[in-house]
């Protein structure tokens, strides 16, 4: 008799081990749950709420929810997809996400998840916030218009790179990402192009400088297959190559 513990995800039995979250177990089993602030390499955060699922009638954040036996998880009903789509629409109108002019288009996790949930319009009135570009760093450029405040760069810089370059400042809709430097500029931090924090952004908010549109249309990460098949941008080699080898020309 099998002692494997399982829960049900859209009717399918998903095995899990003690301590694993619903997200961890689902991804391990090859089942995709849409997410943005979650990166399996790092501690879960539960801030973007895109991974919301229905568990026994309650809405839960699957990246922070420990899996347990007997769970009946709804990941793909129309009701759940509608919830996610609404959350995405709010993310889109909160910032300035102009996909046609964004060099991350086609390889952007935010855009790919929006496609995956069938988001066709922003629905809500755009905030059109006035946000700047910080191009002071010699190798990296920061587009605050595209930041969704997922906090991944903050966590990774603090916990993995041990530099704590970023912080979230302000409250509510005035929350913004800042650099922990006397000038408030990226150039005055210890951030390096090889830092892990630079490669984890799910949008086009952190990009290598002097590079753009170098991957032809048709060869970008999500040009041919949806994110549910391809997976996260940060996990994909071509998406990371500019950052991780320290030589953007390679």
């Amino acid at each position: 008799m099998s002692t494997e513990k399982t829960f049900r995800l859209d009717g399918k039995a998903i095995p899990f081990e003690d301590g694993e979250t619903v997200m961890d177990a689902a991804l391990k089993a090859g089942e995709y749950i849409p997410h943005l602030c979650h990166n399996p390499d790092f501690e879960p955060h539960g801030s973007c709420r895109i991974c919301v699922v229905d568990v026994n009638g309650r809405h839960q954040c699957s990246c922070t929810l420990p899996a347990s036996e007997g769970m009946d998880v709804d990941n793909s009903s129309e009701a759940i997809t509608n919830k996610r789509r609404t959350l995405l629409q709010m993310l889109f109108v909160e910032g300035n996400h102009v996909c046609p002019a964004c060099e991350k288009s086609g390889a952007c996790q935010l855009q790919a998840v929006a496609y995956q949930t069938g988001m066709l319009n922003p629905h809500f009135t755009h905030f059109f916030p006035k946000r700047s570009i910080d191009a002071s760093h010699p190798d990296i450029v920061f587009y605050f218009n595209r930041c969704i405040l997922c906090g991944l760069c903050v966590r990774v810089s603090r916990d993995v790179d041990k530099k704590a370059v970023f912080s979230l400042s302000g409250r509510g809709h005035r929350t913004r990402i800042i650099f922990n430097s006397p000038s408030g500029k990226a150039v005055d931090t210890e951030l390096a192009i090889t830092d892990k924090a630079v490669s984890v952004c799910p949008t086009g908010a952190i990009l290598p400088k002097h590079h753009g549109y170098e991957t032809p249309v048709g060869e970008r990460l999500y040009d041919c297959l949806p994110i549910s098949v391809v997976g996260d941008a940060a996990k994909h080699h071509t998406a990371k190559k500019h950052f991780l080898n320290g030589d953007p020309d390679e």
Partner: protein, 496 residues
Amino acid sequence: MTSALETAANPQDMKRIVIEPLTRVEGHGKVTLLQGKNRNIRQARLHITEFRGFEKFIQGRPYWELPVLVQRLCGICPVSHHLAAAKATDMIVGARELTPTAEKVRRLMHYGQTLQSHALHFFHLCSPDLLFGYDDEVRHRNVVGVIEDSPELAKQGVLLRKYGQEVIRVTAGKRIHGTGAIPGGVNKSLSKDEIHYLQNDIAQMIGWAQGAVELMKTVFFEQLDYHMAFASIETSMMSQVRGDGAFELYHGGLRARDHLGETIFDHVDYRNYNDYIRESVKDWSYMKFPFITSLGEEEGWYRVGPLARINNCDFISTPLADAERKEFMAVGKGLPVQSTMAYHWARLIELLHCTEAIAELLCDRDLIGKDLRNKGVMQECGTGVIEAPRGTLFHHYEINDEGIVEKASLIVSTTNNNQAMNESIRKVANQYLDGHRLSEALLNQVEVAIRAYDPCLSCATHAIGKMPMELNLMDDRGELIDRLEKRVNGQINRTL
């Protein structure tokens, strides 16, 4: 020469005629005419009433975004802006020259762009006027009428344009607003399969392009005197030419000749364009008025585009187009051809050249090369100039130490033709406005004159021959005395 026509001395005594909107003139435009007591047109103005502001809002953006960002100026010839910006950013990244693969892929993209744009303009937009006559019934004088009466011709037009769009897709990734050109080169070369795909149909395209030139010649010569005179104005002309004087669309020196064909300047390095071209501003238009500095604001306006390019070049490098060029130039009897309607003829010679040039390029193995990009020492500014389908296009950018654009200056093709279009409208209006009662003929003739330039006030031309238009005739007290409305369905109503 022109100032009296731009601003009449005593406008209070004249009738003011407003044609508005010139819809989809890449935004909005209108024509106003002031008519004196002798019924002569004393003032003609083409107003672009919409403000685009690209020069302003790309300030603060990183320079490497420019080729993709700025092409959003236009959905009709975005490749031209894409490549002009790419050429400017080539300078910024210190790429003194491109790799052979990069230059040829960009050229191929540009030929595809010019082919599709010219095909669209001639077959979809102008052929109804040229085939059916300007007084043909409005309901019939459109592309649907062409499909009904000449289905084979209409099919050729559609497929020629499709071919050009496919060339763009293969080189830039998308038919509209692609990403092929990047600072210092391109992001892809062609595969053998892509080359074979384009080679399959190119012979047919050359044949159809030849047919289009023949058709245009037939139409032109049937009413030679009329076409030579209609909206005709004597102007200087400017274009790029290759170092040996050959016709050039992608990269060359600037050449300007006066109305007699005498050289004003030649083989000018376009990076110094600011020494030769200036822009004046009128308080009644958002579109600037460029002029050749040495001739001054009054005399220095000029024309660009197919008419200027064919007149200015010494020869065309492809044989079929060059033979057509010689026949074209013979009409001028040793002088530049100044007929505004000859724009159509010149445009089709260019279309033929593009098909020939594409055929040549598709045999070039550099297209499948892998050396895509050059770079060098970063520069603070860059200038890119290209011959867009509608004429010479200037892009100039200055960046700061962080790579952010601080200053941008664009002189788009249609802007170069601004004064010339104003003059042509004046001539047409003077010829066809027959007094107190407006005529549909005037309405259409104004459109025909504007359309000959293929302006990227383009809705004037790209509304498939059905641009909605309103023509008001007012007396000297500003009272409306006559009014015609043309609906998008082509129906014309007198609404007063």
